[in-house]
Structure formats: C-alpha cells, structure tokens
Symmetry: C2
DNA sequence: AATTTTTTATATAGATCTATAGAATTTCTT
DNA sequence: AAGAAATTCTATAGATCTATATAAAAAATT
C-alpha cells in the first residue's frame, strides 16, 4: 500500500516543516517553542508530535530541505555549462533572490544547524559536503579552462565565494528597498574582477 | 569613593564576561545555562547574579566587548593612513587572527546578538553602526583617491567585504592546520583584484 | 581585633517547555 | 452507513532553568 507522492500526510508534513522554518528563523531554535509551530499550523502543541518525533527532528528536516534546494540549483547551473563568470553571476543572483523567497530555510540552516548534536549531524554534513564539492568542481574546471587566476587555491576561493554569498543575508534584514539585481551585479563584479582601481 | 580602574571587582567581572563568552560560543545562548558560566568561574549558579543582573545582561556585555575590540582595531588602521589595498590586507589578516584568539566573542556577536530584544539592542546597534560607518568612510576615501573602482557603490562594497570577513569563521571551525597568512593574502587578493583570469 | 564591605553559598519559588499516553474526532474505505 | 484509519485534542509527568532572598564566609578597613 504505497502512498501517493502528495498524499494528505505529505502535504501537511511539508506545511509543518515550513512552519518550523518560519518559527525557528524568527525566534531562534531554543527560544522558539513547539507551541509556536503548532499555533502556526492551527493545531495544538501535542499534535505536532504526529509529524515530528522531536523538536530536534523538526530542525533537521528544515535544514535538509534548505540545503537540498541550494544543491539542486547549483547542480542545474553546472549542468548548463556556462562560463565561470556566468556561473558565478547566476549563483549570486539566485542566492539573493532565494533570500527573499526562502529566507527562513537559509537563516535556519545558517544559524541553527549546529544545534543538532555532532553524532546526529551526519545527513546534514553529507549534504553540506556535497554542496562544497560541487562548488569546488566548478572552480576546478574554471581553473583548467584558464578562467580562474592560476595562483589561486581552489579551496580558499570557494570559501571566499561562500562568504560573499552569506553576507547576502544582511541585505534581506535591512530591506531598504534595494534593487537586488544591482547588488548581485556588483557582488559578482567584485568577486570576478576585484574592487581596486588600476 | 571611586573604584580603581582594575579593582578586584573589575577583574572578576571581566573574567565573568569571558566565561560567558566561552559558554555562549560553545553551546549557544539558550542551550547554555547560567550554571555553565558559574561552573567555569568556580562559583555557584546563584552567585553569578552578583555580576550580572540577568543572563541577557551577560550576553549584552559579551557582544559589546566583542564589537568594541573590532572597532578599536579598525580605527587604528584608519589612523595610520595606509593605502586602500594595504588597509584591506591589514583588516583581513587581523580578522583571521582575531578568530583564533578571540573567537568566542566574535562567534557570540555574530550568532547570538539578535537574541537581545530589539528595544534593548540600542547600544549594540550603535556600536555596529559605528563599525560600518568607519568602514564606509574608509571606502569613501579610497573612492575619492581613485583607489576604488569608480562604478562601485560604497555601501554594497562594504557589505561584500564584511561578508568575506565573516566567512573567515569557517576556517576556524575546520582547523585543518591551515596557514592563515596564506588565506589572508588570497582573500585580500580576491577582494582587491578578483578571481577571474584575463 | 573589631567592624564594615565585598563576595560567595544555599535554598527555593515560579515559570516554562518537551514529550507521552490515551481519548476524541475527522476522514477515508468498503 | 458502518467500520477502519488517520489526524487532532486533552491532560499531565517530569525535567530544567532563571532569578531572588537570605545566610555565610572572606577580605578589607579602621
């Protein structure tokens, strides 16, 4: 007796993950209570445990869903086989827009994934590694195509790039009606060509 | 009856702030208990309240001490009047080394400052603004000296730079015996001159 | 040494929060 | 419609944690 792909349960489960993401992002994992998640779903606190074995399991679900999305976009960009600079531009632009539409997941992954005890963090670490491996692959190819400066270490460059991306979060926080396309272009330009005149 | 500058109390108070920083950095603000801080100071949980009005006050103290240090270094670099590129290199190098020596404060400021309710976050916000204003000043001067690419918006560049700096934290986490000078050089190079060949 | 001040200890009130067990209700299936 | 399955509710045990009030001890001052 197999479930359909979007049975009632699965839909509701995803709604629960979404509610958890929203609550954790807003209040932080520990400050948030299971009652906050339940409220958002219009069910009682105890009923939440029909969907999650524990509060921590809810956090793990949010983190996994968040990184899964990022990986699948990165994969698609790489499959399309753009030049290095175009790939960078696409990734920056996408990350900034994702911060508008899926900010909850990104914030939770960023800030709270480490709450999960090391011994239970395996799946998340795996996904995280996959993401970094893919990025390193992208940079390594660029290097072999002479699109990357030859004296740059790939690992360090990847870290610098992810750092740049993470700062994108600060734009979301202060929504000063900023044109994200402008920000994305400038971020990409700086990473690709630097900020220094001459 | 004025206190000396380093009376017994002040020393002990600073030790308490330091213990709080270590505990908050390791466990996270909410997961950490006041008992953990007290243990580290070899006093009982209740005694901690001789130094802090509340757990939240301890967090605020840690954050303020953390940002204060960053500001004073930035200020000193700016006072020395280096070129833009040298200033960037100095700041990157310093931030990476600070992550080794004062990682607790930096981590707590980064991850947990937002736990403090908005209405009580005034002081921290002020310090944060000061830091950003100083950086913007640095970039603005560079721009006027034609050391910064003329088409770059100063605000966005500053954010990109702080993003780069924040990713420095990831090096600390995976201490793979990495030479921080090498990382600092490459981070600076990328920010100043880009990663793209040609 | 006696007295005042500073620092730490003890004990606990009061609040909060997770997770569970079992009952009740709704939805689905036949 | 009756029965089965899925979903939600109720009530609560049990654990934890902050903050306070008061007592004790240690240090400083006279």
């Amino acid at each position: 007796m197999l479930k359909e792909r979007t049975s009632k349960y699965d839909q509701r489960y995803l709604a629960a993950v979404d509610a958890a993401a929203a609550v954790f992002a807003e209040k932080g994992y520990h400050a948030a209570g299971t009652i906050d998640i339940a409220d958002r779903l219009n069910i009682k606190q105890g009923s939440l445990y029909y969907y999650f074995r524990s509060k921590e399991a809810a956090l793990e679900a949010v983190c996994l869903e968040g990184i899964r999305h990022q990986i699948s976009y990165l994969q698609s960009v790489m499959d399309e086989g753009h030049s290095f600079s175009d790939s960078i531009r696409k990734l920056v632009t996408y990350t900034l827009s994702a911060l508008e539409e899926r900010s909850d997941y990104m914030i939770v992954f960023d800030r709270h994934r480490q709450v999960i005890p090391l011994e239970k963090r395996g799946k998340i670490r795996d996904q995280s590694n996959t993401y970094h491996k893919l990025l390193e692959e992208l940079f390594e190819q660029a290097r072999q195509n002479d699109e990357l400066k030859p004296d740059l270490d790939v690992h360090i460059s990847v870290r610098a790039f992810t750092g740049l991306l993470s700062s994108a979060g600060s734009w979301y926080q202060m929504k000063q009606s900023i044109d994200l396309d402008v920000v994305a272009k400038q971020y990409s330009d700086i990473f690709l060509f630097g900020s220094c005149a001459v």
